[in-house]
């Protein structure tokens, strides 16, 4: 019973995803083919799942933040910081578990910083997270001392970015596990309800006994953790920490994924599944544009145009227009029918 509801609620996203995948298949015929080499799945679809990992992870945290009527602009910068931390820890000789723990801890701290500004000092989320967005790359550069810190000789960390497990690339395994965990925690506990309530009416929630500050702090902390995970994957993927470019503009892709997924920026009702689909839509676009072989300068323009179309189709104005159109067609049909009756 539960699965059909999810599918019914996310029909627009499913249709968009299907259309874009179909377009990809038309442009590059081998798009849907998947083959196994060296015990690992290869193919464009797998590539979409794999390359989409960072945005998907960011979108999970971003969904929860946006549901509380907030926003987290710092996630791209946090990816850069965490990548730098991971690279400098592993090159300083720490073990993989210590490196991962250190990296995730730094991401968590970044999230708590944002959450403290928003929840304790009541700073508007867009400004509060802008601070770390601006400062974050500077911090990352301080950690890497201004160079791209590479770790070509650390296969254990590289494995996180390009290894595979059960024939699937590690990034895919990681985001799927994080997503399932997040969905279970949010929907099996009362957290989802409390987050939505804060987003709809924070004052009423506080007056009803919800610990709004703690929950706000927690969603920003989760967003920081998700960004940290994405940051480790991105660094491991290029075998180095690039303070300037790691996660650049990905906060925008994450916000876009959430919006395409059907969660309102006004807060309240949210859908993690929708955001995951949104992230996959964005990544399918990216992959499709690359495979189509357009000159690279067109990529961003084409992407913007397609996203504009998606958002126009989803906009309340066009939804209303569609409803109107349907109603009109019915009246026209009824009128024609009655006219035919009259003619007889």
């Amino acid at each position: 019973m539960a699965v059909p509801t999810i599918i019914r609620e996310r029909t627009p996203q499913l249709i968009v995803l299907a259309v874009i995948l179909a377009l990809n298949a038309i442009i590059s015929p081998g798009f849907f083919s998947i083959e196994i080499q060296n015990d690992r799945l290869y193919g464009s679809l797998i590539d979409v799942l794999n390359r989409g990992a960072p945005v998907t992870l960011l979108a999970i945290g971003m969904t929860l933040v946006i549901a509380t009527k907030g926003i987290d602009l710092s996630v791209g910068a946090v990816m850069a910081i965490v990548g730098a931390v991971a690279a400098s820890l592993i090159t300083s000789g720490y073990s993989l578990p210590a490196t991962l723990a250190g990296a995730l801890f730094v991401g968590l701290a970044c999230g708590i910083w944002n959450g403290a500004l928003v929840a304790l000092l009541d700073i508007q989320p867009i400004i509060a997270t802008l601070i770390l967005m601006v400062a974050g790359r500077g911090i990352a550069q301080l950690i890497t001392e201004g160079v791209i810190l590479t770790f070509n000789d650390k296969p254990e960390l590289i494995f996180v970015g390009s290894g595979s497990f059960l024939s699937l690339p590690m990034p895919v395994i990681i985001w799927v596990v994080v997503a399932i965990l997040a969905i279970l925690v949010v929907r099996r506990s009362a957290l989802g309800l409390l987050i939505e309530a804060i987003g709809v009416n924070r004052r009423a929630s506080t007056l009803s006994g919800v610990n709004s500050r703690v929950i706000l702090l927690a969603v920003y902390a989760v967003s920081g953790l998700c960004a940290a995970t994405a940051g480790v994957i991105a660094a491991a993927d290029i075998k180095g920490a690039d303070a300037n470019n790691a996660g650049l503009w990905l906060e925008m892709d994450a916000i876009l994924a959430v919006v395409i997924g059907g969660t309102s920026l006004l807060g309240g009702r949210f859908s993690l599944v929708g955001s995951l689909m949104g992230a996959m839509i964005i990544q399918s676009l990216n992959t499709g544009i690359l495979m189509a072989g357009f000159p690279p300068e067109f990529n961003l323009i084409i992407k913007a145009a397609i996203i504009l179309i998606i958002l126009i189709v989803q906009s309340p104005a066009s939804q209303a227009a569609m409803a109107n159109f349907r109603a009109n067609r019915q009246t026209v049909a009824i009128k024609t029918e009655s006219r035919e009756h009259a003619a007889r």
């Binding site: 009362a190 309530a197 009416n201 007056l207 929950i215 009702r269």
Partner: protein, 506 residues
């Protein structure tokens, strides 16, 4: 005077929002050269009437005549052009612009297509001169006191409109001297033959400035009377009403008065909001709080529930002092609070009736211990049936329910937490008659089952009906505690109206 054609005449105007009537068949007549006070408690329909006159709302029924001609203002600008100007409590000017720019914003004198600043300043000085105001019109408005900003706002409204001036609580943030200055301006405009509608909660000011008074209550016209010779007590009773009294007089068990108090307030107060007060509330007792708007009623409840922090005094629960630092703390003591403003403080609009009902209980349990879906549904169904909440579906978003049903959902939300002490702030405001009676019955029922209740209400008849004791607040002070036979609307109104002259600080 009576034969002269009125300046503004409102006849049989009605307005409803989403099927809830806000104004029903109201008449209102304003003569030229008259200051006419419009009085009524919150929700009486004052602002709805004003918004219809000034074009912010469209009326559903009735007509509005300006100098005998029917008018249909499309919006506020349209009404201004017709001659009806408004000045609000919060000055709606731009404080970063100069005085002259504020006076002429949107209609600056032009020269070669550019603003003629010199001409604008000259004319501004001339306008303000007529009000006896000699200020630097090229200085930013923010440099001046609220009172002067208020006069500038009036000058602008009069200059644009010039027939009817609506003053919506213009004195709320002024001191006594500034009020005098404002009233001098108002008297001058009256002498010029303008009609002025004056809205205020300060009865002393109404007596000082107004020529006649129209009282609204629950969206209906109560009466229009001349101020001269109007008894203050009669005015208060017109505003608050005195119906329902006989129907619901509750019998009070004399034994409850002897039991130990559940909640004791000692010297509880907060500067600028409530003066320190003592109060005991026992189990099986309804303590009523009466007083006009702004008397400190809601503020007292907010201190008890930890929404605002008291800066003096203590709260004890069952004899042990409790530091009320937050609503969570209050809830953990078995407190519950239904706020006055349902929309901003109560309902979580987009969530369903079910989610709103289980909300406080779930918040109390914490996020780790969720109520299962079947528990939630059982709880919701039980309260929907018990309180007769009219909704097509328990999954319907609460924002689509009527006010009375939203109020019942909020009551259900708190009853589900099984509280020992329930605070209700205006529980029957803005809800239909049927739900009204049910909520009163529920209050009595809860009390008889041993709950302690603190109820704030402007409906004195109601309050008299169910309260074991009533405290009366005036000007942020507790002025009277009524027990036993003293509990009557007459005593309450006398307590509110007595020493009326103490309002000079307003």
């Amino acid at each position: 005077m009576a034969n002269a054609q009125p300046l503004l005449s409102v006849r049989g105007v009605s307005k409803a929002f989403l099927g809830v009537s806000a104004l029903e068949n109201v008449d209102f007549t304003l003569q030229a050269g008259e200051v006419h006070a419009l009085l009524g408690e919150n929700g009486a329909g004052k602002s709805t009437l004003i918004k219809i006159i000034t074009g912010a709302y469209r009326r559903d029924e009735g007509e509005v005549l300006l100098e005998g001609t029917p008018i249909h203002p499309r919006d506020v600008v349209d009404a201004q052009k017709l001659g009806i100007g408004t000045v609000y409590q919060e000055v709606n000017l731009l404080t970063n612009l100069t005085v002259a720019e504020n006076l002429f914003l949107g209609r600056q004198p032009k020269r070669f297509g550019l603003t003629d600043v010199r001409e604008m300043n000259r004319r501004s000085r001339a306008i303000l001169d007529t009000y006896g105001l000699d200020i630097d019109v090229t200085a930013p408005l923010a440099n001046f006191s609220v009172a002067i900003q208020q006069v500038v706002a009036i000058a602008r409204a009069v200059d644009i409109s010039g027939k009817v001036l609506v003053l919506d609580e213009p004195t709320a943030s002024l001191d006594a001297h500034e009020v005098e200055m404002l009233f001098a301006v108002v008297r001058q405009l009256r002498a010029r033959g303008m009609g002025i509608i004056f809205i205020s909660h300060f009865l002393d000011q109404v007596y000082e400035i107004a020529d006649s008074i129209t009282v609204l209550r629950n969206g209906r016209l109560i009466d229009t009377v001349p101020v001269a010779g109007l008894d203050r007590l009669k005015l208060v009773s017109m505003m608050l009403g005195r119906q329902l009294e006989a129907d619901i007089k509750r019998t009070i068990d004399p034994n409850t008065a002897k039991s130990e108090p559940l909640v004791s307030l000692r010297g509880l107060g907060k500067r600028g909001s409530v003066d320190p007060l003592d109060l005991d509330i026992r189990q099986g007792e309804v303590v009523g709080i009466a007083g006009l708007l702004g008397s400190g009623r809601t503020e007292t409840a907010q201190l008890v529930f930890g929404i605002e922090r008291a800066d003096s005094g203590t709260i004890s629960v069952g004899g042990a002092p409790v530091n009320m630092t937050s609503p969570r703390k209050a809830i953990s003591q078995g407190f519950a609070f239904c706020p006055e403003d349902r929309k901003t403080d109560g309902i979580v609009g987009d969530l369903s009736v079910r989610e709103n009902i289980i909300f406080a209980l779930q918040a109390q349990r914490g996020w780790m211990r969720p109520l299962s879906r079947s528990e939630q549904e059982a709880l919701a169904d039980r309260y929907i049936a018990a309180l007769d909440i009219r909704t097509s579906d328990r999954e319907k978003p609460i924002k689509f329910l009527s006010g009375g049903n939203q109020q019942k959902v909020l009551l259900a939300r708190w009853l589900a937490t099984n509280p020992r002490f329930l605070i209700l702030d205006e529980p029957t405001r803005g809800i239909d008659v049927g739900a009204h009676a049910e909520i009163i019955r529920l209050i009595i029922d809860l009390c008889e089952r041993g709950m302690a209740l603190l109820v704030i209400s402007s409906e004195l008849g109601e309050l008299v009906g169910y309260s074991s004791r009533i405290i009366v607040l005036r000007d942020r002070k507790m002025v009277s505690e009524l027990t036993g036979d003293e509990i009557s609307t007459d005593h309450i109104m006398k307590a509110i109206a007595s020493h009326g002259a103490t309002g000079e600080a307003a």
